[in-house]
């Protein structure tokens, strides 16, 4: 099996998981318990918080552990926005960010992207209103791989706070929260090799203190519920070696580019999506004219390749990718979207293997469609 779906979930970092299992085994307790085992579990959580803080270049006290990025986004939005507040959100945000805004009853205004999925600071600044309470923009787009000028956007909309979804950027490119100039940011463990079920909210001092889950003093009252110690420790361990991860992802750039060039040369009707000038090194978003993604994906799966059509969430809901629709593609074209996202273990051999298998599969499907 060749795994080209790292943007959906990265394979587990076995070394980090091993440390986490050893830690949890040595401290089989609730971090809130007063006994020795509980104190050891508490120490493990706080050590992980420090590791994440160092990776993001923030203070540990500014971080809240959650069950994932979705919860972190809800916590952030609940803390920064009240019902009826005006929120500017980019057209390519993850559905969880939009969902969090709907949840609090915000007045949502979408900032459109151009045909390459690009966003400009001016587009946000132009739409600011006196009652605008929040701007939401991601650092890296999960389907396209596009990178967005978050710092410039934050400067353009100041003093309106910015919530930045760095889920997809974290671990792929350097992310230093202070350089982004944002009030809040979220990351997710399973995108960087920690188990799913752990995420982090960064919030500037005094921001996002209104809890969504209530009934316990955990996370300084911001998030009730016993901490996911295993996931938190694993995430901390990943963060301790995050620079290596970022470096390795950077090296995927030439592999991604070769893949794109070869496919463009070999396949009719190949269209690449996104911003070639500013994007993640590992992500290739494209479509093949007339070939619905839900035909190609199973066909490639049967050949042992894990790809995605749009985001993992979008392929589950069987609807055209909202991100590709935001680029101005028709519904039919948006259903043709495919995403290859490379990761830590990707090799040249895997790319070659893909190039051997993919074009004949495409040719077979096209022949069948032509005949029927």
């Amino acid at each position: 099996m060749i795994y080209f779906d790292h943007n959906a979930t990265a394979p587990i970092d076995v070394e980090a998981l091993r440390v986490a299992i050893a830690t949890v085994s040595a401290a089989p307790a609730n971090p809130s318990s007063v006994h020795a085992a509980g104190r050891r579990a508490r120490a493990a959580v706080e050590r992980a918080r420090l590791q994440v803080a160092l990776a993001l270049d923030v203070k540990p006290s500014e971080l809240t552990f959650t069950s994932g990025a979705t919860e972190a986004l809800h916590l952030a939005v609940a803390g920064l926005v009240r019902s009826g507040d005006h929120v500017l959100i980019s057209a390519v945000e993850h559905a969880a960010a939009l969902g969090a805004c709907h949840r609090v009853g915000a007045q949502i205004e979408v900032v459109d992207v151009d045909g390459f999925g690009r966003l400009t600071p001016e587009a946000f600044a132009r739409r600011l209103r006196p009652e605008t309470r929040l701007v939401i923009v991601m650092r890296a787009q999960n389907e396209l791989g596009n990178l967005y000028p978050v710092a410039e956007i934050a400067a353009a909309v100041a003093p309106v706070p910015v919530l930045c979804d760095v889920t997809q950027a974290f671990g792929k490119i350097p992310v230093r929260i202070p350089e982004l100039g944002v009030r809040a940011a979220v990351i997710s463990g399973h995108k960087v090799g920690a188990p799913s079920g752990v995420g982090v909210l960064y919030a500037a001092p005094g921001a996002c203190t209104r809890p969504v889950f209530m009934g316990g003093p955990q996370e300084r009252g911001r998030r009730a519920g016993t901490e996911n110690v295993l996931g938190i420790v694993a995430l901390g361990e990943v963060c301790a070696r995050l620079d290596e991860r970022v470096k390795r992802t950077h090296e995927l750039g030439p592999l991604r580019d070769r893949l794109a060039d070869e496919l463009r040369a070999r396949l009719l009707g190949f269209h690449e999506h996104g911003d070639a000038a500013a994007r993640l090194p590992n992500t290739l978003s494209f479509r093949l004219e007339g070939l619905a993604g839900d035909l190609v994906l199973p066909a490639m799966d049967l050949e042992g390749f894990c790809l995605s059509s749009g985001s993992a969430c979008a392929s589950g809901s069987l609807t055209p990718s909202p991100v590709l629709l935001a680029l101005g593609l028709s519904e039919a074209s948006a259903r043709e979207g495919l995403r290859v996202s490379l990761g830590q273990g990707t090799t040249t051999v895997e790319i070659d293997r893909f190039l051997d298998v993919f074009p004949p599969v495409v040719a077979r499907i096209r022949a069948v469609l032509l005949e029927n």
Binding site: D294, L295, P298, A299, D301, L302, R364, V368, L369, N372
Partner: protein, 379 residues
């Protein structure tokens, strides 16, 4: 050989997949997502019958148990256009439609065949109770299942040679009991799942509500006409809420007269009239049908006596078939009961399914005459 199995989530298609795996094939399970969960299904008030969200999960767990890949294919739009809309519109015309045939013709044995080929499969297998037989000349025949109580060949009369050549029905030679025993032997989680008999998008049997819902969703301003119930003497015996609540041969909602039981004899959507009368008036000796399809490509000769079934579960009646322009003129050797416009008439010769057509109306033969006139119930 790579084989795609169409999996509904029921025990039949589960066993079909299991048998293919056992035979050593590379098996791929596909489940068609045909519609969104209905409100009743979401609230857990009704079991879905086929292709509901629960059925998708069942199909996935069967594939997991068999160790084969499983994919969901989104045919919601196609199903709406090719099956649900014609279903609802048929009621506007006073007909009683048969959506399962449309689903087979337009989705299972058309779009799904194409998709299976695109996946590199050599065959599409389904859990239907029917058989495909290849003749010496290389053409393909559709034959009834060995288990006559379960036989579904009626619903498959529209299959083309191209579809049949690509399709196999491994349950055609098994009884339902054998199928359940096989499911148990293979450890399939659906082994004791109840059979589904209802139309999949009417899981609670409330046709009238579903018809209205579909018409609303597609923006169709017309509604099934309301009108009078009229007995055989022309007397108005009551009013009704819509022609879609009635089908030929129905007793419910008609009431009884002093002379005895009364049945729906005919539905006239143009005037909203429901004609009712005694059971003997339901008998007719002929029918007119349209859009005939014959599997071999040839209609029976005018003197060939074939068996004609006018609904699923009908045992069939000896008949002759004449092609009359765009129509088929079907004459029964003995009268049949409750010929229902909108249903399919399916012809067979023994267990060989010859083809079928869609019933337009019944017609009464004048003894010794070629000219025919519609039966009184439809005049």
């Amino acid at each position: 050989m790579r084989i795609v199995v169409a999996m509904s989530g029921g025990v039949d298609s589960s066993v079909a997949a299991g048998l293919m795996v056992e035979a050593g094939h590379e098996v791929v399970g596909l489940t068609m997502k045909l519609r969104d969960a209905t409100a009743t299904e979401r609230e857990g008030r009704a079991e879905g019958s086929c292709c509901s969200p629960d059925d998708l999960r069942d199909a996935a767990s069967v594939c997991e148990a068999l160790g084969i890949p499983h994919y969901v294919v989104d045919y919601r739009d196609a199903f709406r256009k090719a099956v649900m809309e014609p279903f609802a519109r048929a009621y506007l015309d006073g007909q009683t439609p048969n959506p399962c045939v449309l689903c087979n013709d337009h989705l299972k044995f058309a779009a799904l065949v194409t998709r299976s080929k695109a996946l590199g499969a050599a065959q599409l297998v389904t859990g239907h109770y029917a058989r495909v037989v290849e003749t010496a000349s290389g053409s393909h025949e559709l034959r009834a299942a060995f288990d006559t109580r379960k036989d579904q060949s009626y619903f498959l009369f529209g299959l083309t040679q191209k579809a049949l050549a690509f399709t196999r029905f491994p349950l055609g030679e098994m009884s339902k009991d054998e199928v359940r025993a096989t499911a148990l032997r293979l450890g399939l989680p659906t082994w004791d799942k109840p059979d589904s008999e209802d139309i999949c998008f009417v899981p609670d049997g409330d046709y009238a509500r579903v018809v209205t819902e579909i018409l609303t969703e597609i923006g169709e301003p017309r509604r099934p006409s309301r009108g009078a119930l009229i007995d055989e003497s022309g007397r108005v015996i009551g009013q009704h809420d819509g022609v879609h609540r009635f089908t030929v041969g129905q007793r419910k909602g008609v009431g009884a007269s002093s002379e005895g039981r009364r049945y729906v004899l005919g539905v006239d959507a143009a005037t909203g009239t429901i004609n009712v009368g005694p059971p003997e008036r339901l008998m007719a000796s002929g029918l007119l049908a349209r859009d005939a399809h014959f599997i071999s490509g040839r209609a029976p000769g005018p003197d060939d006596v074939v068996t004609a079934r006018i609904r699923y579960r009908h045992v069939g009646e000896a008949a002759t078939v004449r092609v009359d322009g765009p129509h088929l003129d079907v004459r029964f050797l003995s009268p049949v009961r409750a010929i229902t416009p909108g249903q399919a008439v399916v012809f067979s010769d023994g267990d060989l399914v010859l083809g079928g057509a869609w019933i337009v109306r019944s017609q009464e033969l004048k003894p010794g005459a070629d000219a025919v006139s519609p039966t009184a119930s439809h005049s």
